[in-house]
Amino acid sequence: MAADPFPHADSIPGRLINNLSRVVSAWGGVVVQGLTTLGDISLFTFQMFVWMFTTKPKRETLMPNFYAVGVLSLPVVALTGTFIGMVLAIQSYHQFKSIGMETRLGAVINMSLVRELGPVLAATMLAGRVGSAMAAVLGTMRVTEQIDALVSMGANPIHYLVVPRFLACMLLIPALTVMADFMGIVGGYFYSVIVLGIDHAQYLQKSRDFVGGFDLFSGVFKSVFFGATIAIVSCYRGFNCQPGADGVGRAATAAFVQSFVMILALDIVLNLFLDGVYFAIWPSGAKLF
């Protein structure tokens, strides 16, 4: 058993100092661990960019990842997008009706979708469906020495495993976002116009008046960063997986939770940036917050 670094003191102030020291030490440990992880992820990302720009990835590694990220994620993103559009219509309808503005429902639903819910929803589905699977696959490869085998045969694991996943997530998430936006708009329209009976022409006219190209662009722009974050966090977690089934499970969970937190944190920063850009280009634009 390791020696207690804080031996018990008999006096009350001594015990107090001991307890305080333990708390400071524990928090210090957390901070050091956090900084080490941050440094590690930065280095990992740097190496990934170096490999991405210096050596062309192989087609055999790109295609399966593009298929898993783009094609296989499409149905679930489309389905959840439709539901979100309908839910927005259900939630907003009564409030808007009470002030006689139900025809503006389209503007609210579509604006929320293209600026915020579409990209965040696509990113969340990607983190859950693809990110945790990436961490589990790479973690299993680490635990079963498959990554060592790659290295021993002259392949760089970052170039071979991480770069294709990063490119797949970063390049295909805009398509998923557009799909989530589109299906959300369709879902919202269906519920508002077909089920709730809002006037079709007015619904579309108000949507057109309020939702512009920049709104669509900002959603797609943000999604690129979300995709990159998901790939980096998930691959990093997989590469640093602890041995055993428990280690792989933890890596997969951590990949999703950390990606999700990072997506929301990035969302704030990117929204502030995009609003700054918007007002720089159109100073007379409506104030958004």
């Binding site: 055999e60 490869m141 498959q146 045969m153 002259g154």
Partner: protein, 302 residues
């Protein structure tokens, strides 16, 4: 398999005295834990060396350090006159074409077929392609006694012994100068273990290859090795002792006077169980009653 048949198939290999791989005062630490300390070994071309020792003594880490999978804390690994840990990525990639590594659980890529697994080094190093590569893959599988119909299967569809043989075929496909085996017979039945031993012997006779075999299996070590090196866990050594307890031909193992070597070779626990039971804070046996009952049982048996 009959040795005389092998003799007829293959030409004898001349062994050279110049080392193909050499470690100079090699040390490896993880945090405060010392795994390897001042290991200096020279392995001549064509020699087959078995590295034996109990679990946790650093055998596998030594093997991985030799091919640059693990970076040593101090010391050098010299392969064919070059210190491999000073090479850049591109030079190291080129050098890795000359290594073949058979991993403990084969480490086949789950997402690929057997065909793709065995052909991976060919694709990686760009030699050769197309039909010639396919021919080499099928020949490689045949050499380890696998039929061509396994080529399109996934690793999960094969037994442990077949996976090991695929791992061997993959390691051999580029005809490496240095072949490293990490516990090649662990987890296999006795017949399959002997098949692997025979394949190792056959490989040694077929190519001018230097082999390093990490194993616990004394039968296997005696059967295939020209030389045996026994490592001992650094934490159990007395100050100033070398981590290499034995280095010599297999025949000398039986005449050694070192109690620790004898104990390992004969597979005897000796005082080790009592040591484990009496060591403070032993994680496995913290329940006092269980501890006492096992201690009593051991005393009675003694």
């Amino acid at each position: 398999m009959d040795d005389t048949i092998i003799e007829q198939i293959v030409a004898p290999i001349s062994k050279s005295s110049s080392p193909i791989v050499e470690t100079v005062a090699l040390s490896l630490k993880f945090g405060r834990q010392v795994v390897l300390k001042d290991i200096s070994i020279q392995i001549p071309k064509g020699e087959t060396v078995a590295i034996i020792g109990e679990s946790g003594c650093g055998k596998t880490m030594l093997l991985k350090t030799l091919v640059g999978l693990v970076t040593p804390s101090a010391g050098k690994v010299i392969f064919d006159g070059q210190d491999i840990h000073t090479l850049n990525d591109r030079e190291m990639t080129r050098l890795r074409k000359r290594f073949g590594f058979v991993f403990q659980n084969a480490a086949l890529f789950d997402s690929m077929t057997i065909n793709q697994n065995v052909g991976f080094p060919l694709r990686q190093h760009g030699v050769p392609r197309g039909r010639q590569a396919e021919r080499m893959i099928l020949d490689g599988l045949a050499e380890v006694g696998l039929p061509s119909d396994v080529a399109l299967k996934k690793p999960s569809q094969l037994s442990g012994g077949m996976r090991k043989r695929v791992g061997l075929a993959r390691a051999l496909i580029l005809q490496p100068d240095l072949l490293l085996y990490d516990e090649p017979t662990t987890g296999l039945d006795p017949i399959m273990s002997d098949v692997i031993n025979e394949l190792m012997l056959r490989t040694q006779k077929r190519y001018p290859v230097t082999s390093i075999i990490v194993t616990h299996d004394m039968h296997s070590a005696r059967r295939v090795a020209d030389r045996i090196i026994m490592l001992y866990p650094y934490s159990r050594l007395k100050p100033g002792e070398s981590q290499i307890l034995f280095d010599g031909p297999p025949d000398l193992l039986d005449t050694t006077q070192d109690r620790r070597v004898k104990q390992f070779v004969q597979g005897e626990a000796g005082e080790r169980l009592m040591e484990m039971l009496t060591s403070r804070g032993h994680g496995d046996l913290e329940t006092p009653n269980l501890h006492d009952s096992i201690a009593k049982k051991v005393t009675l048996e003694e």
